[in-house]
Symmetry: C2
Subunit: 207 residues, 2 copies
Protein backbone atom coordinates (compact mmCIF):
# COMPACT_ATOMS: atom_id res chain seq x y z
CA UNK A 1 0.00 0.00 0.00
CA UNK A 2 1.02 3.61 -0.53
CA UNK A 3 -0.11 6.69 1.40
CA UNK A 4 -0.01 10.26 0.10
CA UNK A 5 0.89 12.67 2.89
CA UNK A 6 1.56 16.42 3.10
CA UNK A 7 4.74 18.19 4.19
CA UNK A 8 3.05 19.79 7.16
CA UNK A 9 1.43 17.48 9.69
CA UNK A 10 -2.17 16.70 8.77
CA UNK A 11 -4.45 15.19 11.39
CA UNK A 12 -6.42 13.60 8.58
CA UNK A 13 -3.31 11.81 7.28
CA UNK A 14 -2.27 10.93 10.82
CA UNK A 15 -5.53 9.02 11.36
CA UNK A 16 -4.46 6.60 8.63
CA UNK A 17 -0.85 6.43 9.87
CA UNK A 18 -2.04 5.57 13.37
CA UNK A 19 -4.37 2.80 12.22
CA UNK A 20 -1.75 1.33 9.84
CA UNK A 21 0.76 1.28 12.74
CA UNK A 22 -1.73 -0.42 15.01
CA UNK A 23 -2.59 -2.94 12.29
CA UNK A 24 1.16 -3.47 11.69
CA UNK A 25 0.74 -2.94 7.96
CA UNK A 26 3.82 -1.85 5.98
CA UNK A 27 3.34 0.91 3.41
CA UNK A 28 5.18 3.50 1.35
CA UNK A 29 4.68 7.24 1.55
CA UNK A 30 4.77 10.12 -0.94
CA UNK A 31 4.92 13.57 0.65
CA UNK A 32 3.35 16.47 -1.22
CA UNK A 33 4.19 20.16 -0.72
CA UNK A 34 0.98 21.93 0.24
CA UNK A 35 2.74 25.22 0.99
CA UNK A 36 3.89 25.64 -2.62
CA UNK A 37 2.35 28.57 -4.56
CA UNK A 38 0.04 25.98 -6.08
CA UNK A 39 -0.26 23.05 -3.67
CA UNK A 40 1.05 19.79 -5.11
CA UNK A 41 -2.28 18.25 -4.10
CA UNK A 42 -3.97 20.53 -6.66
CA UNK A 43 -1.61 19.77 -9.56
CA UNK A 44 -1.18 16.83 -11.90
CA UNK A 45 -0.35 14.01 -11.52
CA UNK A 46 -2.02 13.97 -8.08
CA UNK A 47 -5.31 15.45 -9.29
CA UNK A 48 -5.57 12.57 -11.74
CA UNK A 49 -5.66 10.28 -8.70
CA UNK A 50 -7.91 12.49 -6.55
CA UNK A 51 -9.92 15.13 -8.41
CA UNK A 52 -10.83 16.66 -5.03
CA UNK A 53 -7.13 17.49 -4.54
CA UNK A 54 -6.67 16.44 -0.93
CA UNK A 55 -4.57 14.12 1.21
CA UNK A 56 -4.71 11.50 2.58
CA UNK A 57 -5.05 9.27 -0.42
CA UNK A 58 -4.49 5.53 -0.13
CA UNK A 59 -3.23 3.66 -3.17
CA UNK A 60 -3.60 -0.10 -3.16
CA UNK A 61 -1.07 -2.43 -4.71
CA UNK A 62 -3.36 -2.98 -7.70
CA UNK A 63 -3.48 0.78 -8.38
CA UNK A 64 -6.96 1.49 -7.03
CA UNK A 65 -7.09 4.70 -4.99
CA UNK A 66 -9.24 5.79 -2.08
CA UNK A 67 -9.44 9.37 -0.71
CA UNK A 68 -11.22 10.70 2.42
CA UNK A 69 -9.53 9.85 5.70
CA UNK A 70 -12.56 8.30 7.37
CA UNK A 71 -13.47 6.17 4.35
CA UNK A 72 -9.87 4.90 4.38
CA UNK A 73 -10.16 4.07 8.10
CA UNK A 74 -13.36 2.12 7.49
CA UNK A 75 -11.80 0.21 4.60
CA UNK A 76 -8.66 -0.73 6.52
CA UNK A 77 -10.42 -1.57 9.80
CA UNK A 78 -13.11 -3.79 8.30
CA UNK A 79 -12.69 -7.28 9.73
CA UNK A 80 -10.31 -6.15 12.49
CA UNK A 81 -10.72 -5.33 16.17
CA UNK A 82 -10.87 -1.63 15.27
CA UNK A 83 -14.35 -1.87 13.70
CA UNK A 84 -17.28 -3.76 15.18
CA UNK A 85 -19.08 -6.46 13.20
CA UNK A 86 -22.41 -5.33 14.67
CA UNK A 87 -24.56 -3.44 12.18
CA UNK A 88 -25.72 -0.78 14.65
CA UNK A 89 -22.27 -0.24 16.13
CA UNK A 90 -20.87 0.17 12.62
CA UNK A 91 -23.51 2.83 12.00
CA UNK A 92 -22.57 4.53 15.28
CA UNK A 93 -18.94 4.46 14.22
CA UNK A 94 -19.93 6.25 11.02
CA UNK A 95 -22.11 8.65 13.04
CA UNK A 96 -19.05 9.83 14.99
CA UNK A 97 -16.88 9.97 11.90
CA UNK A 98 -19.45 12.14 10.08
CA UNK A 99 -19.72 14.27 13.23
CA UNK A 100 -15.96 14.66 13.15
CA UNK A 101 -15.85 15.82 9.54
CA UNK A 102 -18.90 18.11 9.73
CA UNK A 103 -19.03 19.50 13.28
CA UNK A 104 -15.47 19.22 14.58
CA UNK A 105 -12.72 19.29 11.93
CA UNK A 106 -13.94 22.44 10.11
CA UNK A 107 -13.47 24.41 13.35
CA UNK A 108 -10.70 22.79 15.38
CA UNK A 109 -8.47 21.65 12.51
CA UNK A 110 -8.94 24.92 10.65
CA UNK A 111 -8.09 26.97 13.75
CA UNK A 112 -5.05 24.76 14.33
CA UNK A 113 -3.85 25.43 10.80
CA UNK A 114 -4.32 29.20 11.12
CA UNK A 115 -2.60 29.18 14.52
CA UNK A 116 0.56 27.39 13.44
CA UNK A 117 0.81 28.17 9.74
CA UNK A 118 -0.41 31.74 9.53
CA UNK A 119 -3.70 33.36 8.84
CA UNK A 120 -4.94 33.90 12.38
CA UNK A 121 -4.16 37.61 12.16
CA UNK A 122 -6.18 37.92 8.96
CA UNK A 123 -9.34 36.38 10.47
CA UNK A 124 -12.05 38.85 11.38
CA UNK A 125 -13.28 38.74 14.98
CA UNK A 126 -16.60 37.17 14.02
CA UNK A 127 -14.87 34.46 11.97
CA UNK A 128 -12.52 33.62 14.83
CA UNK A 129 -15.43 33.61 17.26
CA UNK A 130 -17.37 31.24 15.01
CA UNK A 131 -14.46 28.77 14.91
CA UNK A 132 -14.09 28.96 18.68
CA UNK A 133 -17.80 28.60 19.45
CA UNK A 134 -18.45 25.71 17.10
CA UNK A 135 -15.26 23.90 18.03
CA UNK A 136 -16.15 24.25 21.70
CA UNK A 137 -19.64 22.87 20.99
CA UNK A 138 -18.10 19.81 19.34
CA UNK A 139 -15.88 19.21 22.37
CA UNK A 140 -18.94 19.51 24.61
CA UNK A 141 -20.80 16.88 22.58
CA UNK A 142 -17.79 14.59 23.00
CA UNK A 143 -17.65 15.25 26.76
CA UNK A 144 -21.35 14.32 26.98
CA UNK A 145 -20.93 11.11 24.99
CA UNK A 146 -18.05 9.93 27.18
CA UNK A 147 -20.44 9.77 30.17
CA UNK A 148 -21.61 6.46 28.76
CA UNK A 149 -18.32 4.70 28.05
CA UNK A 150 -14.55 4.83 27.88
CA UNK A 151 -14.55 5.05 24.09
CA UNK A 152 -17.03 6.40 21.54
CA UNK A 153 -18.67 3.21 20.30
CA UNK A 154 -19.47 0.04 22.20
CA UNK A 155 -16.99 0.80 25.00
CA UNK A 156 -14.07 -0.33 22.83
CA UNK A 157 -11.29 1.60 21.10
CA UNK A 158 -11.80 1.80 17.36
CA UNK A 159 -11.75 4.02 14.29
CA UNK A 160 -14.29 6.51 15.68
CA UNK A 161 -11.76 7.23 18.44
CA UNK A 162 -8.92 7.49 15.92
CA UNK A 163 -10.90 9.95 13.79
CA UNK A 164 -11.77 12.13 16.80
CA UNK A 165 -8.33 11.90 18.42
CA UNK A 166 -6.52 13.34 15.38
CA UNK A 167 -7.44 16.98 16.02
CA UNK A 168 -8.81 16.82 19.57
CA UNK A 169 -5.26 16.17 20.77
CA UNK A 170 -4.39 19.74 19.69
CA UNK A 171 -7.51 21.47 21.01
CA UNK A 172 -6.17 22.58 24.39
CA UNK A 173 -2.93 23.94 22.91
CA UNK A 174 -4.89 26.25 20.60
CA UNK A 175 -7.08 27.60 23.39
CA UNK A 176 -10.14 25.37 23.68
CA UNK A 177 -11.48 24.18 27.01
CA UNK A 178 -11.11 20.41 27.07
CA UNK A 179 -13.27 18.66 29.67
CA UNK A 180 -12.07 16.01 32.11
CA UNK A 181 -13.71 13.10 30.31
CA UNK A 182 -12.19 14.07 26.97
CA UNK A 183 -8.78 14.52 28.63
CA UNK A 184 -8.98 11.07 30.21
CA UNK A 185 -10.06 9.61 26.86
CA UNK A 186 -7.08 11.26 25.09
CA UNK A 187 -4.82 9.48 27.59
CA UNK A 188 -6.61 6.17 27.02
CA UNK A 189 -6.05 6.51 23.27
CA UNK A 190 -2.35 7.28 23.84
CA UNK A 191 -2.13 4.09 25.92
CA UNK A 192 -3.46 1.76 23.22
CA UNK A 193 -1.06 -0.88 21.85
CA UNK A 194 1.26 0.28 19.08
CA UNK A 195 0.10 3.89 19.42
CA UNK A 196 2.27 6.33 17.44
CA UNK A 197 2.25 10.10 17.93
CA UNK A 198 1.61 12.57 15.12
CA UNK A 199 4.87 13.51 13.41
CA UNK A 200 6.65 16.74 14.23
CA UNK A 201 6.63 19.16 11.37
CA UNK A 202 9.98 20.09 9.78
CA UNK A 203 9.78 23.69 11.04
CA UNK A 204 9.04 22.63 14.60
CA UNK A 205 5.69 24.38 14.57
CA UNK A 206 2.60 22.98 16.18
CA UNK A 207 2.08 20.27 18.76
CA UNK B 1 -39.07 3.38 13.02
CA UNK B 2 -39.45 7.07 13.65
CA UNK B 3 -37.78 9.95 11.82
CA UNK B 4 -37.21 13.43 13.25
CA UNK B 5 -37.67 16.07 10.56
CA UNK B 6 -37.63 19.87 10.48
CA UNK B 7 -40.43 22.23 9.46
CA UNK B 8 -38.47 23.60 6.54
CA UNK B 9 -37.26 21.13 3.93
CA UNK B 10 -33.88 19.68 4.81
CA UNK B 11 -31.93 17.88 2.13
CA UNK B 12 -30.26 15.86 4.87
CA UNK B 13 -33.64 14.60 6.12
CA UNK B 14 -34.80 14.07 2.55
CA UNK B 15 -31.96 11.61 1.95
CA UNK B 16 -33.47 9.32 4.58
CA UNK B 17 -37.04 9.86 3.35
CA UNK B 18 -36.00 8.94 -0.19
CA UNK B 19 -34.24 5.75 0.87
CA UNK B 20 -37.08 4.69 3.19
CA UNK B 21 -39.55 5.21 0.33
CA UNK B 22 -37.41 3.15 -2.03
CA UNK B 23 -37.03 0.43 0.60
CA UNK B 24 -40.82 0.56 1.18
CA UNK B 25 -40.31 0.88 4.94
CA UNK B 26 -43.17 2.43 6.96
CA UNK B 27 -42.20 4.98 9.63
CA UNK B 28 -43.54 7.77 11.81
CA UNK B 29 -42.37 11.38 11.72
CA UNK B 30 -41.94 14.13 14.31
CA UNK B 31 -41.46 17.60 12.84
CA UNK B 32 -39.37 20.11 14.80
CA UNK B 33 -39.54 23.90 14.44
CA UNK B 34 -36.07 25.09 13.52
CA UNK B 35 -37.19 28.68 12.89
CA UNK B 36 -38.26 29.16 16.54
CA UNK B 37 -36.20 31.69 18.56
CA UNK B 38 -34.42 28.67 19.98
CA UNK B 39 -34.65 25.84 17.47
CA UNK B 40 -36.55 22.82 18.79
CA UNK B 41 -33.56 20.75 17.73
CA UNK B 42 -31.48 22.59 20.36
CA UNK B 43 -33.93 22.17 23.25
CA UNK B 44 -34.92 19.26 25.48
CA UNK B 45 -36.23 16.66 25.00
CA UNK B 46 -34.60 16.45 21.56
CA UNK B 47 -31.08 17.26 22.81
CA UNK B 48 -31.36 14.28 25.15
CA UNK B 49 -31.68 12.12 22.03
CA UNK B 50 -29.07 13.95 19.96
CA UNK B 51 -26.59 16.14 21.89
CA UNK B 52 -25.42 17.58 18.56
CA UNK B 53 -28.90 19.10 18.10
CA UNK B 54 -29.54 18.26 14.46
CA UNK B 55 -32.01 16.44 12.26
CA UNK B 56 -32.36 13.90 10.81
CA UNK B 57 -32.45 11.53 13.73
CA UNK B 58 -33.67 7.97 13.30
CA UNK B 59 -35.27 6.26 16.30
CA UNK B 60 -35.57 2.48 16.15
CA UNK B 61 -38.51 0.61 17.63
CA UNK B 62 -36.35 -0.44 20.60
CA UNK B 63 -35.57 3.20 21.39
CA UNK B 64 -32.01 3.33 20.07
CA UNK B 65 -31.29 6.51 18.13
CA UNK B 66 -28.96 7.30 15.24
CA UNK B 67 -28.09 10.82 14.00
CA UNK B 68 -26.10 11.91 10.92
CA UNK B 69 -27.89 11.51 7.62
CA UNK B 70 -25.20 9.49 5.88
CA UNK B 71 -24.70 7.12 8.83
CA UNK B 72 -28.47 6.52 8.76
CA UNK B 73 -28.32 5.79 5.02
CA UNK B 74 -25.53 3.26 5.56
CA UNK B 75 -27.42 1.57 8.37
CA UNK B 76 -30.68 1.31 6.43
CA UNK B 77 -29.10 0.28 3.13
CA UNK B 78 -26.85 -2.45 4.53
CA UNK B 79 -27.91 -5.76 2.99
CA UNK B 80 -30.05 -4.13 0.28
CA UNK B 81 -29.49 -3.28 -3.39
CA UNK B 82 -28.64 0.31 -2.36
CA UNK B 83 -25.27 -0.62 -0.82
CA UNK B 84 -22.73 -2.95 -2.37
CA UNK B 85 -21.47 -6.01 -0.48
CA UNK B 86 -17.99 -5.45 -1.90
CA UNK B 87 -15.52 -4.08 0.63
CA UNK B 88 -13.88 -1.58 -1.75
CA UNK B 89 -17.19 -0.39 -3.20
CA UNK B 90 -18.49 0.16 0.33
CA UNK B 91 -15.42 2.29 1.04
CA UNK B 92 -16.00 4.23 -2.19
CA UNK B 93 -19.60 4.80 -1.11
CA UNK B 94 -18.29 6.27 2.14
CA UNK B 95 -15.72 8.29 0.20
CA UNK B 96 -18.51 10.06 -1.70
CA UNK B 97 -20.63 10.50 1.41
CA UNK B 98 -17.71 12.11 3.29
CA UNK B 99 -17.04 14.25 0.20
CA UNK B 100 -20.69 15.32 0.32
CA UNK B 101 -20.58 16.36 3.98
CA UNK B 102 -17.17 18.05 3.84
CA UNK B 103 -16.75 19.52 0.35
CA UNK B 104 -20.33 19.94 -0.96
CA UNK B 105 -23.02 20.43 1.71
CA UNK B 106 -21.25 23.23 3.65
CA UNK B 107 -21.33 25.36 0.48
CA UNK B 108 -24.34 24.34 -1.61
CA UNK B 109 -26.76 23.54 1.23
CA UNK B 110 -25.70 26.60 3.20
CA UNK B 111 -26.15 28.87 0.17
CA UNK B 112 -29.54 27.27 -0.48
CA UNK B 113 -30.62 28.02 3.09
CA UNK B 114 -29.47 31.64 2.90
CA UNK B 115 -31.14 32.07 -0.49
CA UNK B 116 -34.58 30.85 0.54
CA UNK B 117 -34.70 31.53 4.26
CA UNK B 118 -32.86 34.81 4.60
CA UNK B 119 -29.32 35.79 5.34
CA UNK B 120 -27.99 36.22 1.81
CA UNK B 121 -28.08 40.00 2.17
CA UNK B 122 -26.03 39.81 5.38
CA UNK B 123 -23.21 37.79 3.79
CA UNK B 124 -20.08 39.74 2.97
CA UNK B 125 -18.90 39.54 -0.63
CA UNK B 126 -15.94 37.36 0.24
CA UNK B 127 -18.13 34.93 2.20
CA UNK B 128 -20.59 34.64 -0.68
CA UNK B 129 -17.71 34.19 -3.11
CA UNK B 130 -16.25 31.42 -0.97
CA UNK B 131 -19.55 29.51 -0.93
CA UNK B 132 -19.89 29.91 -4.71
CA UNK B 133 -16.29 28.91 -5.49
CA UNK B 134 -16.18 25.85 -3.26
CA UNK B 135 -19.66 24.69 -4.22
CA UNK B 136 -18.71 25.01 -7.88
CA UNK B 137 -15.52 22.99 -7.24
CA UNK B 138 -17.59 20.20 -5.70
CA UNK B 139 -19.89 20.13 -8.74
CA UNK B 140 -16.80 19.95 -10.97
CA UNK B 141 -15.47 16.95 -9.04
CA UNK B 142 -18.85 15.25 -9.52
CA UNK B 143 -18.85 16.06 -13.27
CA UNK B 144 -15.39 14.49 -13.52
CA UNK B 145 -16.39 11.34 -11.65
CA UNK B 146 -19.44 10.77 -13.87
CA UNK B 147 -17.12 10.30 -16.86
CA UNK B 148 -16.56 6.79 -15.58
CA UNK B 149 -20.11 5.63 -14.91
CA UNK B 150 -23.81 6.43 -14.74
CA UNK B 151 -23.78 6.51 -10.92
CA UNK B 152 -21.10 7.30 -8.36
CA UNK B 153 -20.07 3.82 -7.24
CA UNK B 154 -19.88 0.62 -9.25
CA UNK B 155 -22.16 1.91 -12.00
CA UNK B 156 -25.23 1.24 -9.88
CA UNK B 157 -27.63 3.59 -8.06
CA UNK B 158 -27.09 3.57 -4.31
CA UNK B 159 -26.76 5.67 -1.19
CA UNK B 160 -23.80 7.70 -2.48
CA UNK B 161 -26.14 8.95 -5.20
CA UNK B 162 -28.89 9.65 -2.68
CA UNK B 163 -26.51 11.63 -0.47
CA UNK B 164 -25.24 13.72 -3.39
CA UNK B 165 -28.66 14.18 -5.01
CA UNK B 166 -30.18 15.82 -1.92
CA UNK B 167 -28.62 19.25 -2.44
CA UNK B 168 -27.28 18.96 -5.99
CA UNK B 169 -30.89 19.01 -7.22
CA UNK B 170 -31.09 22.64 -6.00
CA UNK B 171 -27.70 23.83 -7.26
CA UNK B 172 -28.81 25.27 -10.60
CA UNK B 173 -31.75 27.15 -9.05
CA UNK B 174 -29.40 28.97 -6.69
CA UNK B 175 -27.00 29.99 -9.41
CA UNK B 176 -24.41 27.26 -9.81
CA UNK B 177 -23.31 25.97 -13.19
CA UNK B 178 -24.35 22.34 -13.37
CA UNK B 179 -22.54 20.32 -16.03
CA UNK B 180 -24.18 18.01 -18.57
CA UNK B 181 -23.11 14.77 -16.86
CA UNK B 182 -24.44 15.91 -13.50
CA UNK B 183 -27.71 17.03 -15.13
CA UNK B 184 -28.14 13.66 -16.83
CA UNK B 185 -27.35 11.91 -13.53
CA UNK B 186 -29.99 14.01 -11.70
CA UNK B 187 -32.52 12.76 -14.26
CA UNK B 188 -31.37 9.16 -13.81
CA UNK B 189 -31.87 9.46 -10.04
CA UNK B 190 -35.36 10.92 -10.57
CA UNK B 191 -36.16 7.90 -12.76
CA UNK B 192 -35.29 5.27 -10.15
CA UNK B 193 -38.14 3.06 -8.88
CA UNK B 194 -40.24 4.53 -6.05
CA UNK B 195 -38.42 7.88 -6.27
CA UNK B 196 -40.12 10.60 -4.21
CA UNK B 197 -39.40 14.33 -4.58
CA UNK B 198 -38.33 16.53 -1.69
CA UNK B 199 -41.37 17.99 0.07
CA UNK B 200 -42.52 21.52 -0.65
CA UNK B 201 -42.07 23.79 2.31
CA UNK B 202 -45.20 25.26 3.94
CA UNK B 203 -44.34 28.80 2.84
CA UNK B 204 -43.82 27.78 -0.75
CA UNK B 205 -40.19 28.85 -0.69
CA UNK B 206 -37.40 26.99 -2.38
CA UNK B 207 -37.41 24.31 -5.03
Amino acid sequence: MHLYDSNIPSGNVYKVQLLLAQLEVAYGTTTLDILAPVSETRRPPFVAKNPNGRVPLLELDDGRVLPESNAILFYLADGTQYLSDDRFERAQTLQWMFFEQYSHEPYIAVLKFFTYWGGLERLRDDELQRLRTRGQQALQVMEEQLRSGDFFVGGRYGIADIALFAYTQSAEAIGFDVGPRVKAWLERVRSTPRFVPIKRDPLGKGP
